[in-house]
C-alpha cells in the first residue's frame, strides 16, 4: 500500500475560512509529527523534531496572538479560560525548551518527548472544548474568517514545512534555539496582523 500522508493545514484544499477548524486540523498535524518523531531515528528523527518544534511554536504563538485575545475580550468568563490555557502553554514551552537541549538520540529524549506529547494533547483538547466552542458560538463567519486569515498570514511568514524548490528539508529547517524561534514567530504574527511588537 502506498504510504498515505495527510497534508498539513494550509496544504489541503480547505478555504480556511474558519479559524477553529483550521486550528483543530493543526492539532492533528502536531499529533502526526509526534508520531513521526517517535517512529524515526537518527537524522530523520532530528529533522522531524525540528519540524515539530517549529509547528508548535507557530501554532501556539498564533493562538496567543489571535485567538486568546479574542476569547479574553469576547467571552463571558473568557479571562479565566485564557489564563488556564496560557499556564498550560507556558509549561509546555518550558518542557520544549528543556527538550531542545537534548540530542534526539539521547536516551533521555524519548521519555521527555512523551511527557510533552501528553501535555500538548491535553492542552489542545482543553482549547477545543472550553475555548473554541465558545468562539464559534459568539462570533460570526466574518470574524472567524478574519482570524483564520491572520493565522495563515503568520504561517506564511514563519513557514512550518519545507517549501517547493528548496532541495533539502533539513536545510530549510535550520533554526536555532526554541526561544529565539518563538520571538521571531511572534514578531511575524504581529506584523501579519498589522501590529508592531
Amino acid at each position: 500500500m502506498a504510504e498515505l500522508t495527510t497534508p498539513q493545514a494550509g496544504d489541503d484544499h480547505d478555504r480556511d475560512s474558519d479559524v477553529v477548524s483550521l486550528l483543530m486540523r493543526q492539532h492533528g498535524d502536531i499529533r502526526n509529527l509526534f508520531d513521526e518523531v517517535e517512529a524515526s531515528t537518527g537524522d530523520e528523527r532530528r529533522d522531524a523534531f525540528r519540524r515539530l518544534v517549529r509547528l508548535l511554536a507557530v501554532h501556539e504563538t498564533a493562538e496567543e496572538e489571535v485567538v486568546h485575545p479574542f476569547a479574553r475580550r469576547g467571552l463571558a468568563g473568557g479571562g479565566q479560560v485564557v489564563e488556564d490555557r496560557l499556564a498550560e502553554e507556558k509549561a509546555a514551552k518550558e518542557t520544549l525548551a528543556a527538550l531542545d537541549d537534548v540530542d534526539t538520540d539521547d536516551p533521555k529524549f524519548m521519555p521527555q518527548l512523551l511527557a510533552l506529547r501528553a501535555d500538548v494533547q491535553e492542552h489542545a483538547r482543553a482549547e477545543e472544548r472550553y475555548e473554541f466552542t465558545h468562539i464559534r458560538r459568539s462570533t460570526d463567519v466574518t470574524n472567524l474568517a478574519a482570524m483564520a486569515k491572520a493565522v495563515r498570514a503568520a504561517e506564511a511568514m514563519a513557514p512550518t514545512r519545507p517549501h517547493p524548490g528548496v532541495e533539502s528539508g533539513a536545510a530549510n529547517m535550520t533554526l536555532g534555539p526554541v526561544a529565539a524561534l518563538m520571538d521571531r514567530t511572534k514578531d511575524a504574527v504581529r506584523r501579519a496582523m498589522g501590529k508592531d511588537g
Binding site: 500500500m1 498515505l4 484544499h13 477548524s21 492533528g28 502526526n32 506529547r117 501528553a118 483538547r125
Partner: protein, 399 residues
C-alpha cells in the same frame, strides 16, 4: 482449560462495593495502547450497560419488593463496574476517535462471532451486519481526517482494514425487514445465546452513543453523518435483538446475562496485554461469579428449574479480538449486494426496499455520500487503510 462459572465462587456481594479512590481508574494512553485493549473496554462497557438496563426493566416488571431489593443491590455493583470500565477511556480522545474505535469493535467482534457461530441462520445474520459496520468505519475515517487531520490508521493500527463495505446509503431498509426469526431456546447451542446477547449489547451501546454524541458536533457534515448512521444502529439493534428467543423467561434471561458477563470477562482476562486492565477483568470476573449465583437462585425459586438446563456444560472457547481481514474480504466478495426481505436475504432491490430508499433519501445524496465528496474536495482523494491489496469488488476500487 475448562472453567465452569457455576462451580466457582467469587467475591461475596457485601464486599463488592468500591469507594471513590477505587473507582478512580487511570485511563489508557490513546496514542500508545493496544487497539484491542480499547476494543475490549468498549465491548465490556456495552455489556455492563445492557446488564443495568435489563435489570431495570426486570425490576419494573417485578411485584415482590424483596426481589426488587436483591436486583437493586447487584445492579448498583454493575453500575460501578460500568463506571470503572468506561472510565478507562481517556478524556483526551475526541468523540470521533472513540466512534472509530466503536466501529473497529463492531467489525472485529461481529466477524469473530460470525466465524464461530454454529447455527447457519444466525451466522448469516452476523455476516450480513458486519459488512455495514465495516462501511461505517470507512465513512467515519474520512470524516476524521477532514476534521482532525488524523488518520484512522493511528487508531486501528493496521489490525482492521478501512475500505468500503456495503454502501451505507443502502442500509436504510423498511423497518419490517429488519426483524429476524429467533433461535429456539431449547434446541439452540448455548454458545449461540451468548453470541446473540453480546452483539445485541454492543450494537445497542453504539446506538445509544451515536444518538447522544451526534449533536455535540458543530460541523454540519458530522451532525448529519451521526444522524444517518445512528438510524442504522436502530436497524441493527432490531436485527440482533429479534434473534433472541422471546420465550425465555425473565429469570432465564437474567441467568444468560450474568453467565455471558462471566464468559466475556474470563475471555478478556485470558488475552489482555495491559496488566492494569487485565487486573480489572479478573476482579470483575470474580464479582460476576457471585452475580451469576444470585441469578441462578432467582431462577430456581421463580421458574422451578435448574440453570444448568439452559446453560452450556462448560465455558465455550474464549471470545477473541484478532484481525479478521481475510474473512471480511471473503464476505465483501460474496455478500456485498445483499439486502433483507422479511426474515430472509435477497439480492434484488425489491419494491419495499426501493420505496424506503426513495422516501428517506428524498432525491438527494445522503450524508454518507456527502462526507466522501467533501473529503475529496479537501484532499483530492479518499482515505483508506488497505493492507491486503485491491478491494475484492472491482466497482469499489479507488479511482
Amino acid at each position: 482449560m475448562t472453567f465452569n462459572p457455576l462451580e466457582q465462587r467469587g467475591i461475596p456481594l457485601d464486599r463488592q462495593l468500591r469507594n471513590w479512590r477505587e473507582l478512580d481508574v487511570k485511563p489508557i494512553d490513546p496514542d500508545h495502547c493496544d487497539p484491542y485493549t480499547r476494543c475490549r473496554i468498549i465491548t465490556m462497557n456495552g455489556i455492563e450497560v445492557e446488564a443495568i438496563l435489563f435489570s431495570h426493566q426486570l425490576a419494573r416488571n417485578t411485584v415482590d419488593p424483596e426481589v426488587k431489593r436483591r436486583l437493586a443491590r447487584v445492579r448498583y455493583i454493575e453500575a460501578q463496574q460500568q463506571k470503572v470500565v468506561n472510565w478507562l477511556l481517556p478524556g483526551v480522545s475526541s468523540v470521533l476517535e472513540t466512534t472509530i474505535a466503536y466501529e473497529q469493535v463492531a467489525v472485529d467482534l461481529t466477524a469473530w462471532v460470525a466465524r464461530m457461530e454454529p447455527d447457519p441462520y444466525l451466522k448469516q445474520a452476523y455476516q450480513f451486519g458486519v459488512l455495514e459496520d465495516f462501511d461505517h468505519l470507512y465513512r467515519y475515517a474520512n470524516l476524521y481526517e477532514m476534521i482532525e487531520h488524523r488518520k484512522a490508521e493511528s487508531i486501528v493500527d493496521g489490525l482492521t482494514e478501512v475500505i468500503p463495505g456495503r454502501p451505507t446509503k443502502f442500509h436504510h431498509r423498511d423497518p419490517v425487514d429488519n426483524v429476524r426469526d429467533p433461535y429456539a431456546k431449547d434446541e439452540t447451542n448455548p454458545l449461540s445465546k451468548l453470541h446473540a446477547l453480546t452483539i445485541m449489547s454492543a450494537e445497542q451501546q453504539t446506538m445509544n452513543f451515536y444518538m447522544n454524541v451526534g449533536p455535540t458536533y458543530m460541523e454540519p457534515i458530522a451532525r448529519r453523518l451521526y444522524q444517518e448512521i445512528g438510524l442504522i444502529e436502530e436497524e441493527h439493534v432490531t436485527h440482533y435483538e429479534s434473534l433472541v428467543d422471546p420465550g425465555e423467561t425473565w429469570w432465564e434471561q437474567l441467568v444468560n446475562h450474568e453467565y455471558n458477563e462471566c464468559y466475556l470477562y474470563y475471555s478478556f482476562m485470558e488475552q489482555e496485554s495491559d496488566p492494569r486492565v487485565k487486573a480489572i477483568w479478573e476482579l470483575h470476573l470474580n464479582m460476576e461469579l457471585e452475580h451469576l449465583h444470585q441469578a441462578c437462585d432467582l431462577m430456581r425459586r421463580h421458574d422451578g428449574r435448574e440453570p444448568e438446563s439452559v446453560l452450556a456444560t462448560e465455558l465455550p472457547n474464549v471470545l477473541t479480538f484478532e484481525p479478521n481481514k481475510a474473512y471480511v474480504r471473503e464476505l465483501l466478495d460474496t455478500q456485498i449486494d445483499l439486502t433483507t426481505l422479511g426474515a430472509g436475504y435477497v439480492r434484488e432491490a425489491h419494491e419495499r426496499f426501493e420505496k424506503m430508499q426513495e422516501e428517506i433519501h428524498g432525491g438527494e445524496a445522503p450524508p454518507s455520500e456527502r462526507v466522501m465528496a467533501e473529503h475529496d474536495a479537501m484532499f483530492g482523494r479518499e482515505y483508506r487503510v488497505q493492507t491486503e491489496g485491491e478491494h475484492p469488488d472491482p466497482a469499489l476500487r479507488e479511482k
